[in-house]
Symmetry: C2
Subunit: 185 residues, 2 copies
DNA sequence: GTCTATACGCTGATAGAC
DNA sequence: GTCTATCAGCGTATAGAC
């Protein structure tokens, strides 16, 4: 995969995407990105301003998640859990790890917060009823992120080895109830 | 707080704890720790082997959480949520952020996984019934971590401004059901 | 405009003299 | 045990060649 015959700007994007996902934010160096893209390190900075700027520029907007959130409201909980269990090896898991490992940078944290809202909380809040639609959607997002954390980041053996049917039922229904249970008094 | 008259080894521990919590792992430098402890940077490495070794050496074992997990089983869900909502400004939140920001280091990830088990999953799994006690405890830990993430790391405005009673009821009962609901068929 | 060469100030870490 | 000197590598900036 070394020097592609892409324009350098795209070669940098491509190389950076692979390395950030594979090694995390801190362990990926500008020099390594430049080497993989077949160009000079200074060029990376010239094009994207900084390593952080490059990272922000190539973060993808999640696609298949949007589909689930637009699907039937009363099966969203279990679908979200399946999404996490099946995606442990996917590039998206790498993206998540990279973002978390860079979350001490304020701008990246802001981006994370904004993404959660745009992709998850906003669309979902419009579809749930009750007195606290936005809060319920945000709590569902929190619970969803908790599973992603456990499966994709911590890679907890209890969950990796668990019967996925049991996880889908237990955790999926818990998310579901957050969205569609009757209001508390 | 500058040069205390502690033995240097303890002065380093103390200074490192404050800086890691305040600035995160990546933004805290060995030289800054040494300056705050009033000693030479090389001494920090000499005593703890590496920056990562120092970080691992000073991570606290969580106390008040253990109390909650040993308390009445049928109110643990709501208690855990209160713990998160009240602790947003606590040093523990800083410790959590520091750990997450260092989670691309394999050894630190291992430590995170082990802590979750020792403090949370193990003690709790012994107390819940049903067919999947350990899985239920692990899922409750995941959901708990999801709220910590949203409140302490992302600092989401929806949650920061939310009525805490509603959060305690909705999210707390969801955790609770993960632990004490009847087994699925 | 696009790119290279070079260099600056910083990092974590080491070797060896007091 | 502690400090001095020094290392290679980092992100980044700039000057100047195509």
């Amino acid at each position: 995969m070394p020097p592609q015959n892409l324009p350098p700007r795209d070669a940098i994007r491509r190389a950076a995407g692979e390395l950030f996902v594979r090694d995390g934010y801190g362990a990926t160096t500008v020099r390594a990105i430049a080497a993989a893209a077949g160009c000079d390190p200074a060029l990376v900075i010239r094009h994207f301003g900084s390593k952080e700027g490059l990272f922000l520029a190539i973060l993808p907007v999640s696609g298949s998640l949007t589909q689930i959130l637009a699907g039937p409201l009363d099966s969203i909980g279990r679908e979200l859990v399946r999404y996490v269990l099946e995606g442990a090896e996917s590039p998206l898991a790498g993206v998540y790890r990279a973002m978390v490992s860079a979350s001490d940078r304020p701008e990246i944290k802001d981006r994370l917060r904004a993404s959660i809202h745009d992709v998850f909380v906003g669309p979902l809040a419009e579809r749930v009823g009750g007195t606290y639609p936005e809060l319920r959607a945000r709590l569902a997002a929190a619970q969803f992120a908790g599973l992603i954390n456990a499966c994709w980041l911590v890679a907890d053996p209890v969950l990796v080895c668990a019967e996925s049917d049991a996880v889908v039922t237990l955790y999926g229904d818990a998310i579901q109830r957050l969205l569609t249970s009757p209001d508390p008094t």
